[in-house]
Every structure is written in structure tokens, then in C-alpha cells.
């Protein structure tokens, strides 16, 4: 099944892209290390290690690039499909939860996450999903925050929970 949220590429093209990205990254690493203190032989500074790694990574990504360009046959043409609507949705909602976690607090964030994911993955109806999400969020809060003393934010509900 093919749909808009999916990207199709080949192993060879993917490796070439990866190698180019890594090459750019190594340039960035070297540029960043350039600003750092070099120190002396007896007091090697902060720059030395990242600088060396940057050059090594650059070399190895050149190697990767060469290998990928020369890649032929079955391995090169192997199709690779990336993405699926639910993958993007999952990443998106996790990202949102990360952003609002401290502000909304654990209970609301967890309810949000569970509701969206359960609704998306399963065929449950909305009211069942909501009930399950609220339940999961409260039960996990009781277990982790109250029983196991893990620190979880109370967020906007703080005045009520204290």
C-alpha cells in the first residue's frame, strides 16, 4: 500500500545521502572545534579530541560515499520505504508532550499521549479511549510518583494535587 506519508528510496541512494550528511556534520564538528582552546602538549585543550574525531569522521564518510557510489547489484537497488502516517503522528505527539510536559504536568500530558495513540493504533471508540487514557495516566501516576517516588511534574494541576 502506497501513500503520501511514505518515501521510497533505494539502499544506494540512502547511503549516499547518509554519507553526505555525515560529511557536512564532520565539517561542522571541525568548525566548532576550531573555536575551542587548543592547549599545549602537556595540557591538551578542549579542541583536540573533537578536532581529531571530526577529521576521522570526514575520512570515513568519504569512504562510505565511495562505497555507496560504486555499489551495484542487488544491495544497491534494494528498495527502502520510510515512514507511515502513524509513525509521523507518534513522533509528533511525543514531541508535543515533551514541549508541554512541565507546563501541563504529568497527568494531563499522559492522558493526551495515551488518548491520541490509543485512538490512532486501535479501533476503540473515543469515549473508551478517553476513559482508558485517564485511567492509565492516574494509575501510572499513583505507581510511579506516589509509590516509587519518581519525580513527575504536577504542572497546572499543582494547586489541586498538593
Amino acid at each position: 500500500m502506497k501513500n503520501a506519508a511514505e518515501l521510497t528510496t533505494t539502499m544506494r541512494r540512502g547511503e549516499i545521502i547518509a554519507a553526505v550528511v555525515l560529511l557536512l556534520l564532520s565539517a561542522g564538528i571541525i568548525a566548532g572545534a576550531w573555536e575551542m582552546p587548543v592547549g599545549s602538549a602537556a595540557q591538551p585543550g578542549a579542541a583536540i579530541f573533537p578536532l581529531g574525531l571530526g577529521f576521522l569522521l570526514g575520512l570515513i564518510s568519504l569512504g562510505l560515499l565511495l562505497r555507496a557510489v560504486r555499489l551495484r547489484g542487488e544491495e544497491a537497488a534494494e528498495p527502502v520505504q520510510i515512514g507511515h502516517p502513524q509513525i509521523w503522528l507518534t513522533l509528533f505527539i511525543l514531541f508535543i508532550v515533551g514541549l508541554v510536559f512541565d507546563w501541563l504536568g504529568y497527568l494531563i500530558s499522559a492522558t493526551l499521549l495515551m488518548a491520541v495513540l490509543l485512538r490512532s493504533y486501535s479501533t476503540l471508540r473515543w469515549h473508551v479511549v478517553l476513559l482508558a487514557a485517564v485511567g492509565a495516566s492516574i494509575v501510572s501516576w499513583l505507581i510511579f510518583s506516589q509509590l516509587l517516588d519518581a519525580s513527575l511534574p504536577m504542572g497546572v494541576l499543582e494547586p489541586l494535587l498538593r
Binding site: P37, Q146, L147, D149, L160, R162
Partner: protein, 328 residues
């Protein structure tokens, strides 16, 4: 344990709202303090020496204040992350900070941090302890003066372990070395334990760090401590010269633990907290706990604590400038 406190509370939201309305912000001045648990943010991981000091204090100060006092750990960035959280907290006396030297008086000179000594209110310093320099038993010096003379005669020959470049131990030692003209190579380790291990293995010449860690080796005779960073001598380290004997009594830096609050804390609450923490620090339990490891209990006043922080902050800035550290 505090299990299921929530279930009880959340079943009474109506009451909570009602209570909130009754004691609302309009009557702030008259509100009873403390009326709910107080949190001490300790900017280090759980279970370390610093963390334990504040957990002890929290247990002792709770009954005095008549509320629960809990420690929460906020590690990271050598204490900077937790300190930021403290200085940015609401100054209502429900969030305090449990600090030690580095994040307040040292790190700010080394790296940019978004707070200054004016962003917090020192409440009370709980305890202090000097640090020591120690050598193996065959080192050709047997007292503090010989030790310093020998180091002076051999500049940059000996290595001393410490807790990191720009860390408490290095700055404490360089602050003494500078006026005495001593030059030794500082090898940074992650703490006293790692320093001790490398010292015992013979990879460095001199141990620099807390007294507690090296004490067993002084007792069994394999190490001798020749310098203590306080103006007075310490009974468990008879060979160690103090700074008065070395002629630099004003160059002393002690490790300390103390309570701070975000600036803007109402004066009456600050006074209440100051008294309560002084009382807790001077309690026999705390004294016994600290003195068993060679730490002196202080329980200082807020004003004295402020003075110490300010002078240490200035001194550390100078030392760093002189040894070529500091903000780039």
C-alpha cells in the same frame, strides 16, 4: 512513605478550592507560613555526601518548622542547572536550595551562568570542613614548612590530584600556592575517590581533597597530610601545617554546605527559616553525624553567610584570573 496521599486529596477537590479561596493571595501577609511542605532543591545527584547532609537537615528542620521538608535532586552542569531552578523559583519560602561552594562562588567565573550572588538570599551555613594536601610516607618532607620549601625548590615537578580544572580543590590550593610561590601541576579528577585511587596507585604525587576520604590511610601510616587549608590545625591531622603557620591565614577556603532562598523572600519568612536551620544544624544528632567525619558544624547567621559568599566569590575570581582560567 507517602503512598496514596493523592487519592485522598484528589477526592476532595471541592474542599481544596474552598480552602484556597479562604486563604487566598489577598491576605498574603497574614497567611500562616509554613502551611505546606517545603522543598529543598539540591543540585547534585542523590546519595552523595552533599545530598546526605541536606537530607539529614531536612529531617531535623521539619519538626522545628512544623511541616514536611523534602529534598529533591536536580543534578547537572556541576550544580548550575539546579541553582538556576532555585534562583528562578517563586520566593515564597516553599522552595529553598541546598548548596555548596562551587556553583555559587567558582563556576560563575569559569562559565557564563544566568545568576549572580544578588539573585539569592543566603539563609544559614550548616557546616564547614577544610581540605588537605597529602603525600606518600616516603616523600622527603615531614611537616608543612618542609613540604612547601621542597615544592618551591622543584617548581612544576610534582603533580597533585584535585576535583577538576576550576574546581573547589584546585582553586583552594592555588589560592595558597600563589602568595607562597609554589608551582605544582594540577591533575583533574572527578572527585576525591578517583584522586585517592590515583594517589595510592602512585600515578600522582600529592593527594588534594577532603579529609574524610584519605583519613584511613593517614591512620595506617601510608599517607601523611602536610597542609590543611584552614587557619587552625585539625586534631586528626597532626602533621599538617595550618595556614597561620604558613603565614597566609587570609588565604583559607573551606568546603561548606548552606541553605539559600530565591531573592525577594519576605523578611519574616527568612528570619523564621534562618532560626529553624540554625537550630537544626546545632542539634546533637546533626553534630554527631558531621563530627564523626571531621566536619565542623556552623549554623551561621544569614548575614555571616552572605559575607562569606561575597568574599569567597571575589577571591575566587582573583585566583582564576591569576592562574589564567576564567571566562573566555
Amino acid at each position: 512513605m507517602k503512598n496514596f496521599r493523592l487519592s485522598l486529596r484528589s477526592s476532595l477537590p471541592v474542599l481544596a478550592v474552598a480552602a484556597g479561596l479562604l486563604s487566598g493571595p489577598t491576605v498574603g501577609a497574614a497567611e500562616k507560613y509554613p502551611s505546606r511542605p517545603i522543598e529543598i532543591i539540591v543540585p547534585t545527584g542523590a546519595g552523595g555526601g552533599t545530598d546526605l547532609v541536606f537530607r539529614q537537615l531536612a529531617d531535623l528542620v521539619g519538626p522545628i518548622l512544623g511541616t514536611n521538608v523534602v529534598v529533591s535532586n536536580r543534578p547537572g552542569g556541576g550544580g548550575v542547572i539546579g541553582t538556576i531552578a532555585i534562583t528562578r523559583a517563586k520566593p515564597d519560602g516553599y522552595i529553598l536550595g541546598g548548596l555548596w561552594n562551587a556553583p555559587l562562588t567558582m563556576t560563575p567565573h569559569l562559565n557564563p551562568v544566568p545568576y549572580t550572588p544578588q539573585d539569592y538570599l543566603p539563609i544559614s551555613m550548616a557546616d564547614t570542613s577544610p581540605t588537605v594536601l597529602c603525600t606518600k610516607k616516603d616523600f622527603p618532607a615531614n611537616n608543612g614548612k618542609e613540604f612547601i620549601d621542597y615544592l618551591k625548590k622543584n617548581p612544576n615537578k610534582f603533580t597533585y590530584g584535585n576535583d577538576g580544572v576550576g574546581g573547589t580543590i584546585q582553586l583552594t590550593m592555588e589560592r595558597i600556592f600563589l602568595p607562597l610561590g609554589v608551582k605544582a601541576r594540577a591533575v583533574p579528577f572527578s572527585g576525591a575517590g578517583e584522586t585517592l585511587k590515583n594517589f595510592l596507585g602512585g600515578h600522582i604525587d600529592i593527594y588534594g581533597g577532603s579529609m574524610t576520604t584519605i583519613l584511613p590511610y593517614v591512620k595506617d601510616g601510608s599517607a601523611k597530610c602536610l597542609l590543611v587549608t584552614s587557619p587552625r590545625s585539625v586534631s586528626s591531622m597532626p602533621d599538617a601545617a595550618n595556614l597561620t603557620e604558613l603565614g597566609v591565614p587570609d588565604r583559607s577556603t573551606l568546603l561548606w554546605h548552606g541553605l539559600i532562598a530565591p531573592k525577594g523572600l519576605p523578611a519574616d519568612r527568612a528570619a523564621l527559616l534562618e532560626k529553624a536551620f540554625q537550630q537544626a544544624a546545632r542539634s546533637p544528632q546533626f553534630r554527631e553525624y558531621m563530627e564523626s567525619r571531621g566536619i565542623t558544624v556552623e549554623g551561621s547567621s544569614s548575614a555571616d553567610f552572605r559575607k562569606l559568599i561575597d568574599s569567597e566569590y571575589a577571591a575566587m575570581g582573583e585566583v582564576m584570573a591569576q592562574i589564567g582560567l576564567g571566562k573566555k
